[in-house]
């Protein structure tokens, strides 16, 4: 059961899928599993829906679209357990869930994750072959219809930042696009990566500031203050293009342009000792501190309807 699940360790794909099923079985009044599509290799794209009533607006979280960022998926597992544990106990989360649904996609790139577990621990992209090239996969964080094809993405299939042949060409991306559009009432969207300790908001594809930049910046400051209060982990924050680099076709640029005001992307621990091989004993501290920031964003979303 999910009480005995080892949150302090990394797990393979099947174990995480089983964890999701266990969580649903144990908390069927609160959690359900939605399959929003299939990966290129035919794996289900599972989303956990935490809901206490019908017709609620939604808040979206996804982890691990870049498969080698294992602390991200592991944190997603911890978040799922945290939600069911805190509902009814933590007044802030309870209030959120009494008014909003939370959607959590823990394994956003399952083919890539499986590949990191079995063939190449440093794999980042999807696993769809590219016609005419021996190089496989697309960077799913350059595949969105937001400045698609612009600077900060590559047209070369062999590049780690290959954008793909067209926007939303990757089933892992298209599934989220279809879900967000069909839902029609997602109010916040946080896409979680690692590492480098940053909280970023749009835009990445243009230097034009987002129209809500002042509010997004202030909320980022608040979220990072909360995060740092636990272990004093140092984070930076700002727009993608000014804080890290120009990146076209990114997830949250698309969600923001769809009208989801509270669109953020996270880069979790660490700043440069282990990179993508963060030791498992840092999973829970990473998840704990990140959760504080996620709560700040979700509370702000609830308190500032638009």
């Amino acid at each position: 059961n999910t009480d005995d699940f080892v949150y302090t360790n990394y797990h393979n794909l099947n174990t995480i899928y089983s964890f999701m099923d266990m969580l649903v079985a144990e908390h069927s009044d609160l959690v359900s599993k939605i399959v929003i599509g299939q990966s290129y290799e035919g794996r289900p794209l599972n989303v956990l829906r935490f809901s206490t009533g019908a017709n609620r607006p939604g808040m979206w979280l996804d982890t691990g679209i870049h498969s080698r960022e294992w602390v991200t998926q592991a944190s997603g597992v911890w978040f799922a357990k945290k939600i069911v544990t805190d509902y009814g106990r933590d007044p802030a989360l309870t209030d959120i869930l009494n008014n909003y649904d939370i959607y959590l996609e823990i394994i956003t790139n399952p083919d890539g994750y499986q590949y990191t577990q079995t063939k190449d621990r440093m794999w980042r992209k999807t696993r769809k072959p590219n016609p005419g090239s021996s190089c496989v996969g697309v960077d799913p964080n350059r595949n969105w219809d937001a400045g698609f094809g612009g600077a900060g993405s590559s047209s070369s299939p062999c590049s780690e930042t290959y954008r793909g042949p067209s926007a939303h060409s990757e089933p892992e991306v298209k599934a989220i696009v279809d879900f967000v559009k069909s839902h029609g009432n997602i109010k916040s969207f946080v896409s979680i990566h690692s590492y480098s300790q940053m909280l970023l908001y749009p835009y990445g594809y243009t230097r034009t500031p987002a129209k809500d930049q002042a509010e997004l910046h202030e909320l980022a400051r608040k979220a990072i203050t909360e995060l740092q209060s636990l272990y004093n982990t140092r984070y930076t924050y700002g727009s993608i293009i000014t804080t890290i680099y120009q990146a076209s076709g990114g997830t949250i640029d698309w969600t923001y342009d769809q009208g989801i005001k509270y669109s953020y992307t996270f880069e979790l621990r660490d700043t440069g000792r282990y990179g993508f091989i963060l030791p498992a004993n840092q999973i829970v501290p990473t998840a704990e501190e990140t959760w504080l920031a996620l709560m700040a964003i979700m509370e702000h979303t609830k308190n500032n309807p638009y």
Partner: protein
């Protein structure tokens, strides 16, 4: 299965725009098999790159020749991955 014996991850600190340009040129040398975990963008951001064993000598020589500072962030990537694997296996054999 892809292994990473002898691969190192270097953390590079560029001190000026000229060094950034040099590092961008380095990143385009496909034959070196470099995997930039954090790309050369601007001086204020560190650059992390995984360097295969066969390219270590060339990359280190390039950095030294151009007076670009770096430190070894990960001495041997495979050692870390082996430890990670041991930890994962350990969690599977513990009776719950």
């Amino acid at each position: 299965k892809e292994t990473f014996e002898g691969h190192q991850v270097l953390r590079i600190t560029a001190n000026n725009e000229a060094q950034i340009t040099l590092l961008k040129e380095l990143s385009e040398q496909g034959h070196l098999g470099l995997d930039f975990w954090m790309e050369p963008i601007r001086e204020s951001l560190p650059i992390d790159v995984r360097v295969p064993f066969n390219s270590l000598q060339a990359v280190r020589a390039f950095l030294a020749y151009n007076h670009i500072e770096y430190l070894v962030m990960i001495e041997d990537v495979q050692n870390l991955l082996d430890e990670e694997q041991r930890q994962m296996l350990k969690s599977h054999v513990i009776p719950r």
